[in-house]
Amino acid sequence: MNDTLGALVLLPLGGAVLAALLPRHGPWVGIVTAAATLALALTTAAAVYRSGPRHLELAGWGAPLGIDLRADGLSAAMLALTAVVGVATTVYATGSDAASGRPLFWPLWLALWSGLNAVYVSGDLFNTYVALELVGLSAVALVALGGRDAYPPALRYLFVAVLGSLAYLLGVALVYAEAGTLDIVEAGERLDGATTAVTALTATALAVMALGLALKTALFPLHAWLPQAHAAAPSAVSAILSALVVKASLFVLVRVWFVVFGGAATPGAAQLLGILGTVAVVWGAVLALRQPRLKPIVAYSTVAQVGYLFLLFPLATPGLGEAAGTTAAQAAYAGWTGALGLALAHGLAKAAMFMAAGTLALAHGSDRLTDLRGAATRMPMSTLTFGLAGASLAGLPPTFGFVGKWQLLQASLISGQWWWLPVLLVGGLLTAAYTVRVLGATVNPPDAELAPLAPVPRRMEWAALSMAALAVMLGVSSSGLLGLLGVGAPVGGGP
């Protein structure tokens, strides 16, 4: 059973090699690999939900000599999100070369998927670095598939991604110097046990790692690279980047913050991350409102939505090490499930939004809002997809986004950090505003002459709509998913 953890990484990687060797059969290799990986991910998630975190010692050595793979509830949820969005984007990408960008899409995308899974199951700090580089390099290569205009943003993305990784690597070296191990859980135990006070070394290690990972996650004010790169990429790639890739570095930051540095993460630093997240929520939304084109709107929306996820740190950090049942632990647990649930909801909704934006742009030959008139009646499915996804992002009931925000609201109230409440409300309003602006642009004005639409394969629209529908429907039955996020969580004293 535990062997699925290895297969989750090595199966898509095998698919990537196969797709590289058989360039003409890329779509088939992609679909088969995607289906198998989805099955593996769902099996793993079910196993974690039923019987707790999974653990696998690779090569038979065991940490700290070898590398261990681990999957707790958060890992399982991220694996499942990646697989679900991955299957949808795979189907979507088979629809059009313009959406995927040439045959090399397939090996690069499968390698990226493998890297994402590797990040989520890794139990080792340095292995995480290598996995992050696999994710970063293949993501940049996928952006570059967008053609000559995508090269400058791709290069900028590459510099940012590698600089972030280098900062992270420096932190790994410092942790190793202090703890003598690269295993994440063991390093956490040793750092916790060895130091009574936070040493300068530990603080420096946490600071450089947080800086590097925040850069890779595009936290304000380190976000400027993201909208360009995500908007310049082919649509399927944009969906993958916004829905999945930014989550990988956030996942690592969560691991590092709560597991490795549990004792060193101070409330002050957590508040700082929350404040930066708040600024991102407002700033990203304001810029999204000012974009004349659809894909940049969706890309700036990612900057804003990533900001919410950083509320995890101020809301959950005070509950570290508190016994189950205390107020602090309850608040932290609500913050944990809320912010990470929101990450899942954002993944689904943002994938839907970018895919819908892609089909609209493909049909209309442009993604300028002024060129999209009439889409509401002529491409109702794509427009509906965009609207549903926007509703989930804005946190309207009964969507999954609403559930996440509700949990964050609870966490703020219980922990007495009332100052996050306006952020949640204003952010929702701004999200609704730019969604409505896009929807308004698709309405058909009377007696306007409309250019004919280019044909778009139906499966592309279906793939997008399925993600949006999932983002809404999961809100109705969310308890299972929230429970999964709590399995093995570092806060809340266990589920």
């Binding site: 290598v130 090269y151 590459l158 900062a167 110097a177």
Partner: protein
Amino acid sequence: MTREELFLAVGAGLAVLGAARLLLTRDLLTRVLALNVASGGVLMILVALALRGGGPDGPDPVLHALVLTGIVITVSVTGFAIGLVRRIEGDLTEGGRR
């Protein structure tokens, strides 16, 4: 000051120098070079730590293995980055855009 301490300090200097230059210059090739200098600095810290953390059998082999991996990753990134730089600048000279 011991040899490890000297190289730890120089590694820190190179890492920061490279990172700062990467962020502050606009010349694309200089950015590639800066990335490599920063990477050299970080790897120097790892190698110096290996010397400090070594046992009677010599320096820490785990850190050396990590540095080897780091060098290979850096050259991969550099190779692709130079390709992008050349395409971008080829466009600039050719079409006279910007």
